[in-house]
């Protein structure tokens, strides 16, 4: 440093002044230069891709992203829309079940029609049982086929009940885990069993001619064997319908139109069927997210914009002030996107959102320049001189402020997540581009304006001159601080310190769903699905190109505690080895059935039943369909069945398995608390058997029908043909095998809501013991939480360190550089404290306030430093008056801008609005109230030297030349106009 050189009049500063003068005079040439740059940047802009998909959040080109893209492309079922249907009247469960089933059938028909073919490729309201009816046993594990053989060891009624009782006692007695494991199957069995018992009672009581046809009994047996084909909830009053759309989650423009259309049509039709309907699934949530992020903002953003325009017009006494600052702002944005197009080639969700923040940052440079320009004009300087001085006086602060902000953003490249690194680069470019656009264009546009005014012979508007905002409050603050700096410093410091004590309590929102709008139907229905149907629509997935690997992964995943269910092609396509085992068991099962039926070739004439341990030798207990049933044995088995059902009901109650409990209660006549509220079906049946004349004769007839039907169905199920992939129904196949038939999809249904960070991390940890290939939209949440939890803070610390060195370079004074950071540190501590007290959490959207606060917080202090060094000792009031106005204006416009997010119904937008407005207000408070007091106390009360190295605190340099006396304006050579 040359000791006779004034630091604030460096070559760079002088260059800025000269540039301002030249550009305002040669505004045409300047505009042409800007145009040329814009054209070049336009080339970059044209190659920029908008990647606003969820997986743009995940590490680019990672296997997870590749797999996720493949799943969306190759497995159309992954983009399914889920329709949740609920009977309007749920009081009578049986009627409600009929209503929702009818609605499922009706809506399936409607949506499968040509009217919806543009958007709907397939509708699944129920499972086609044909495949299961034919290959049911081949789909059971060998040990379960053995169980079946024992249950159906004899087609007679009593042996069937005995077999069933034996099975219940062996498999489920006291075993909640097994009951829970078989929840789906056992619930269906209970419902089917209830229907069979009711049919039996009808047969017992009614004369032959009045009996219902076999169709009802047949459907009851089907229900017992195969369950309900509908996707019903725990009490059967709700159902699900899956729509496979023709579009995916990446076709935003289509789904934004298609989903509301489907929603309206489905709701209208459902209403006519006395059913409430709602849509959910990730694609629906995505649509809702897009719509709600804009909802509620139209009025507030318009008001904010008008307010900002009025403030700018009145502050700068120019109707064209919004244009003078707005045009460079837009050009700066175009340059930023152009540069991004050249370097990164895409905008992701985070960088696209940052463009809004860039508007807030870029406009500040215009405000600082225009404030000084207007002040110089008010001081009577000519137009050219005023432009020159505005760049001369504010330029250094603006450049330094922009550099520190850019550095703060570039520091984000230290982040772990690629998306934050991208943000760092784009945001850094953004600041540089905005700075250049402002420095190049504002003088030129002012020159053009001046040219127009001169040409028309006009002067500044007298209306605006009369009504311009004076910002007397800022002047008053300046006077107050100058008079009582210690008071201001202590008060603000104390406030900051109190808030800082709470700062460590601020937390991070890990549940992305809590960032969505409150009361959003698609989100609430996700919880409804977990509560009523026992699963969440958001799964994790694994794709593999090898069926054997799919088998291993499926088997291992099933054992993980954090996994509720694993869905894949594997249950429908057993291995050849397993099929061989099953065929052997099925043959034994079939042989037994044939033998018992006395069918040709069995060698049995129909007297003995095998496998029935409860039948006494010689007791013609009714094992074979043609035998007479023993009343005593039948009643014994029915009582035993009742006991088993009661015991399982106790287990289901204590384990909170409501779906099973509902099914059991409907048989036992108990309510949820275990009180007898209705007569149990079994008691009614026993009563009928005891009271009805000819009951046993009727039961014998029932047995004939029942055994015949059951045997027929079981024999059909016992097909021993090996299952080939081509035999699996297309609906199942296309859900788990890719279109190109090269990949297999495994869906992992988590036991807990995976959007909650804690749950997701446990799930991912456990999954990592099986595979590292799990993917899904849920993983985007992990990236976002990581951004909010680690990257934001890590980048902020790095930024502050780098900024410190920049400050050191600029001010060449250690004390000043350190103290410049103090308003920023206080702002952060206070912001965190307020957030903790108000219960506002950081999320991946509002975390953007961190770099923004660094940028603006440092900028304000840097501007004040430069001005104070320029104005000198004893002129802190002038510093606050001159710089404070611009700082106030930038803060006010930014707060108004961000506060316009607050009315948003989307919680993330609202919290972003609150956090950013607070951050800007705090930055202003600590920059204007606290920081000038500290500067003044340091230099003027404690006589600390804050001047650049080589200068003494009295303003003289090593050669004794006095540049910083600070006694009066005239004494200070740097206070020239």
């Amino acid at each position: 440093m040359k000791d006779n050189k004034k630091p604030e009049e460096s070559a760079a500063v002088n260059f800025l002044g000269r540039w301002g003068e030249w550009a305002s005079v040669h505004w045409k040439k300047t505009l042409l230069i800007a145009l040329a740059i814009t054209i070049i940047m336009g080339i970059g802009f044209s190659s920029l891709k908008l990647e606003l998909t969820y997986y743009s959040m995940m590490p680019k080109a990672s296997r997870q992203v590749r797999d996720l893209k493949k799943i969306i492309k190759e497995f159309p079922a992954a983009s399914s829309i889920v329709v949740v249907l609920q009977a309007e009247d749920r009081h009578n469960r049986e009627d409600a079940e009929k209503t929702v089933k009818a609605a499922v059938d009706n809506l399936t028909k409607m949506l499968s029609g040509p009217g919806y073919s543009d958007y709907v490729s397939q509708v699944d309201g129920k499972i086609d049982p044909a495949f299961f009816k034919e290959h049911g046993l081949m789909l059971l594990k060998a040990k379960d086929i053995k169980r079946y053989r024992k249950i159906f060891s004899d087609p007679g009624l009593v042996p069937f009940l005995a077999g069933l009782n034996n099975d219940f006692e062996k498999e489920y007695s006291g075993n909640e885990e097994k009951l829970s494991e078989d929840k789906q199957q056992i619930t269906s069995q209970f419902k089917g069993l209830k229907e069979i018992l009711e049919e039996m009672k009808r047969y017992t009581e009614k004369p032959e001619a009045e009996r219902l046809t076999n169709a009802k009994l047949s459907s009851s047996i089907d229900r017992f064997l195969f369950g309900s084909p509908y996707f019903l909830n725990r009490d059967g009053t709700m159902a699900l319908l899956f729509i496979r759309p023709t579009f995916t989650i990446n076709d935003m423009d289509i789904f934004v139109k298609a989903i509301p259309l489907l929603d309206r049509a489905i709701k209208k039709q459902a209403s006519s069927l006395h059913v409430k309907a709602g849509l959910t699934g990730l694609i629906v949530v995505g649509k809702d997210e897009m719509v709600t992020s804009e909802k509620g903002l139209a009025v507030s953003t318009t008001i904010a914009l008008i307010l900002i325009l009025i403030i700018m017009i009145l502050s700068f006494k120019m109707y064209s002030a919004p244009l003078i600052s707005g045009i460079p702002l837009v050009i700066g944005l175009i340059w930023t996107m152009g540069l991004t197009g050249f370097v990164i080639k895409r905008l992701n969700i985070l960088t696209a959102m940052y463009m809004i923040a860039l508007i807030g940052l870029g406009i500040d440079y215009a405000i600082h320049l225009l404030t000084t320009y207007v002040q110089e004009r008010d001081d009577g300087n000519s137009f050219t001189e005023s432009v020159k001085l505005s760049l001369h006086k504010s330029g250094a602060g603006i450049v330094m402020g922009a550099l520190t902000t850019a550095v703060a953003f570039f520091a984000l490249t230290v982040a772990k997540s690629a998306i934050v690194k991208e943000l760092g680069i784009v945001a850094g470019f953004g600041i540089i581009c905005e700075l250049l656009a402002m420095l190049i264009l504002i003088p030129a546009i002012l020159g053009y304006r001046n040219h127009r005014l001169l040409k028309r012979g006009k002067t500044e508007s007298s209306f605006l001159n009369r009504n311009k905002l004076q910002y007397r409050i800022v002047s008053l603050l300046g006077t107050g601080i100058k008079a009582k700096p210690l008071l201001f410093m202590l008060l603000t410091l104390a406030a900051g310190a109190v808030l800082a004590t709470q700062a460590n309590r601020v937390s991070v929102e890990g549940n992305m769903m809590k960032m969505e709008a409150k009361g959003l139907e698609s989100i609430e229905l996700q919880d409804t699905m977990v509560r009523e149907f026992g699963f969440a629509p958001d799964t994790l997935s694994v794709i593999t190109g090898n069926i054997e690997s799919a088998r291993k992964i499926t088997a291992k995943m099933k054992k993980l505690g954090s996994v509720k269910e694993v869905e894949s092609i594997i249950p429908f396509y057993p291995s050849q080895k397993e099929q061989t085992r099953r065929i052997k068991e099925i043959k034994a099962f079939k042989k037994n059935l044939v033998l018992q039926a006395g069918l040709p070739g069995s060698g049995n004439t129909g007297g003995k039943a095998s496998g029935n341990t409860h039948r006494k030798a010689g007791n013609n207990a009714g094992g074979n369909a043609d035998e007479h049933i023993s009343r005593e044995r039948l009643i014994n088995e029915l009582n035993r069945l009742k006991d088993n059902l009661l015991e399982m009901s106790d287990l289901a109650y204590s384990a909170g398995m409501d779906k099973i409990l509902y099914a059991l209660n409907s048989i036992t006549g108990l309510n949820m608390e275990g009180k007898q509220t209705g007569e149990p079906v079994i008691d009614k049946l026993i009563k009928s058997i005891n009271d009805t004349p000819d009951a046993m004769r009727n039961i014998d007839a029932f047995q004939k029908y029942f055994s015949g039907l059951m045997r027929q169905k079981l024999l059909k199920m016992a097909d021993t043909k090996r299952i080939d992939i081509s035999m699996i129904p297309d609906k199942i196949r296309s859900a788990y095998i890719s279109k190109d038939k090269k990949s297999y999809l495994i869906n992992i249904v988590p036991a807990q809501n995976p959007w909650i960070t804690k749950n997701r991390r446990i799930l991912l940890k456990q999954l990592s013991t099986v595979t590292d290939r799990a993917t899904g939209m849920v993983l985007a949440a992990d990236q976002m939480t990581q951004i909010a939890e680690h990257d934001g803070i890590k980048a902020a610390i790095t930024a502050i360190i780098v900024i410190f060195f920049l400050l050191l370079l600029d001010f060449r004074n250690l004390k000043l550089s350190v103290v410049t950071l103090s308003p920023l540190v206080l702002s952060f501590a206070s912001l965190f404290g307020i957030m903790a007290i108000a219960g506002i959490k950081f999320d991946f959207i509002n975390i953007i306030s961190v770099p923004l606060l660094i940028g603006i917080g440092i900028d304000d202090a840097v501007h004040i430093n430069h001005r104070y060094l320029l104005e000198g000792k004893g002129h802190i009031d002038t510093v606050i008056e001159k710089t404070g106005k611009a700082v106030f204006l930038t803060s006010l416009t930014t707060v108004i801008g961000f506060a316009s997010f607050i009315p948003s119904i989307m919680r993330a937008m609202r919290s972003t609005g609150i956090v950013l407005s607070m951050a800007m207000a705090l930055a202003f408070v600590f920059s204007i109230l606290f920081y000038p007091s500290v500067l003044m106390l340091m230099r003027e009360k404690l006589n600390m030297n804050i001047l650049p190295w080589g200068y003494k605190n009295n303003g003289t340099n090593n050669n004794g030349k006095n540049h910083y006396r600070g006694k009066s304006n005239s004494d200070n050579p740097r206070r020239q106009k």
Partner: protein, 261 residues
Amino acid sequence: MKSFNLFIAAAVLITAARTFNPYPAAGESNAGMIIKKADAPFITEKMYSVGTLTIYRSGNPRPGMEIETYSLNRGNNYYSLIIYRKPARLKGTAYLLINDDLWVRFASTGRVRKLSSSARENSAGGSDFSYNDMGESGKGMASQYNAELKSSSVSVNGRKCYKITLKPKAGRKSHYSKITAFIDRENFHYLKIDYYKNNANIKSLLFSDYRAVNGRDYPFKMVMESHIRPTKTEIITGKIDLNSPKVKDSIFTVSYLKRIR
């Protein structure tokens, strides 16, 4: 009446140790000694307690269950009998545990069933405790797990703790791949136990409200929180009686189980 709590704690912390020596033997590792000191208060020959067990699902409590617990450490054998007194639906439901064997009596039918040995790994009464957690027999944690002191300065609820990792000894089967115990440095109270399976902390047991009973400090409140299901189970001990005359050999039989009302 906190006997059930005590029972659970004793069981969870591997009570049974009939001939348990509460003081670490010479040459044992620090971690082993700490674990033994922490286990010591839970070791008792006879114990009777009454407590309330409440299961929370998604944060909502289900009706609390009042439970009587009898336990007996006799020689190499460990016995326990748990009887549900409330709610009405479960009144009279009882579990009898004799070493590795488990029987259940159903209140609704009065029938008694012996459960398979694999059922011991299952959830006990729908809670977040497994039968194994509740009645793990053997020789105490130190004898079944290799203990390693990980830290002496971690904090749980503001208390400085020892953090000890326990891994099953070679050849010993355990439901958990790892257990981490947090033991108060000052009084050797268990404060928290984390259970790990497949690399993840699947549930945590939190101890609080320690009170002196017969010169021993017992946790009157224990909460087992599942990290893989939206549930937690809270056990509040109401009454506890050591060496209670109510604990007799004759009650730990299947025939007594059948007579329970």
